[in-house]
Symmetry: C2
Subunit: 325 residues, 2 copies
Amino acid sequence: MKYSSTRLLEIFENHLAQIEMPSEPELLYSPIVYSMSNGGKRLRPTLLLAACNVFRDDITPALPAAAAIEVFHNFTLLHDDIMDNAAVRRGRPSVCAKWGNNVALLSGDAMMIAAYAQLQKSPRELLPQILEIFNGMALHVCEGQQYDMDFESRTKISVVDYMHMIELKTSALLVGAASIGAVIGGASEEDCRKIERFAMELGLAFQLQDDMLDSYGDEALLGKKIGGDIIEGKKTYLMIQAMSHADEPTRDILRYTYKDASLSPEEKIARVKAVYDRLEIPRITEQQISVRIERAISILDTLNVPAENTANMRAFALGLIGRTR
Amino acid sequence: MKYSSTRLLEIFENHLAQIEMPSEPELLYSPIVYSMSNGGKRLRPTLLLAACNVFRDDITPALPAAAAIEVFHNFTLLHDDIMDNAAVRRGRPSVCAKWGNNVALLSGDAMMIAAYAQLQKSPRELLPQILEIFNGMALHVCEGQQYDMDFESRTKISVVDYMHMIELKTSALLVGAASIGAVIGGASEEDCRKIERFAMELGLAFQLQDDMLDSYGDEALLGKKIGGDIIEGKKTYLMIQAMSHADEPTRDILRYTYKDASLSPEEKIARVKAVYDRLEIPRITEQQISVRIERAISILDTLNVPAENTANMRAFALGLIGRTR
């Protein structure tokens, strides 16, 4: 049977709800339970299950790996919030704000181990291969996070540098999820490589969309104030593209506006967005998102499966960047 | 062939030296290389190899798991140093002191993943079992660390509570190492259980010895000042035993001496050790170490292998607590 992503999400949530955590020591395990119930969109496990479902009707054997991916993803958020000193995560206090950095650090560690403990329940004969993919993916995510932190203190970052960073920080998890799903689905070596390339492009589109929405999104839909990246002076795709297109005086505006104590947050956002608009950064970004998503979907069409097997995955991919076609 | 622990250590160091780390991003991988070259005694991988060698002559298939255990152990030290705000580790700046907490946090995460990446090179058919042991062990270590942190703010800790904590924080890694070594060595289920109990007792003896040496060791041999635990008011086996044997006025001395600003460090150490001596805590501790090590060794004698197979393991166990017989 082929499942829509809505149905896959239901099946996954049902599986996740059955995973039991020890109750003691409370300060180790409570933050994990809290963190896993944060109302995330479960994109990565849904992608993993959808990838499995492209090649195989029964997705049950992929559920433990899907749980592993989601636990791992939430672990990265938990540790990222310590590094970023972030007090809020999805509208609630972050684990480090609620329990302190030491508890967040250690329960994050336990959470990564818990991810591997889920992974271990994958089909025995596939475990060596799955573990290898998972380890490579997990290291890539750490590499991406380190490059992102490196960027904070670097003055010159090219678009190529930025794309490489988000390939690691964002796409790697999607690539790993799709790859493990395809392996459990019994995909050929060739189809596995293809679905990995699909997930890579999808991840890039998703991250650029995320960067775009932070400056140009709808606050009501997003559930948060727009312009956060601009106020923090974050080096997003928009900022890096603008820097590469701007003349030197405009670059100074981009470099220093977020630090200008004489401006209100609204003025900072307006000033930087005026530069973005003048340089047509939104159009450039939208175009890049379209290129990536079209490339992703055209890869799906080359898989060695009946065309109807990829329909749900196509819908999932378009939905991820808020489109229907 | 049966190897002495000295020879196992050489073989292990040789194996470890051949493991390559990526060079980029530098701030992710340099701390791992630094951390692994810290001159540790490699007790856990040696134990793993020795356990394998009890049941099997060729220890080569156990080398990746031995590396995994050592990388994991050093990862725990790296994150522990962040939590303890520790500036020094084995006479050198700790990773967090040298690179800052964020770098230490993230490279620690990468190090845990690197441990799993080593583990993954274990014999394919044994990997599911090895991964399960490793995950259980790793969670126990986190649980032990959390209990240890919980103890800092708890006023009443029983000897039973303390032994449970060090079973998790210290013994679990030795149990995991011995268990994985035995599995790779092809030990029977029954012999695996036995060697786990051996390692559990050995770990307890080792931790009590560690607690003992911190207050009564030889500074020259130890390479550090004695009395650190007393000055920090740490709840060690000695302190907890003393609290359980002392009358109320003496308990107050044990409770408050380390916080007494009118005393020099030397005076604090002398005052607490005078209580320990009067209550015969060193004798009680030594006796407990002897009981544990004798129990450990008597378990070795019940293994279903020729007696000579356990000779090196016996020597290793005695060496661990600084004895020769």
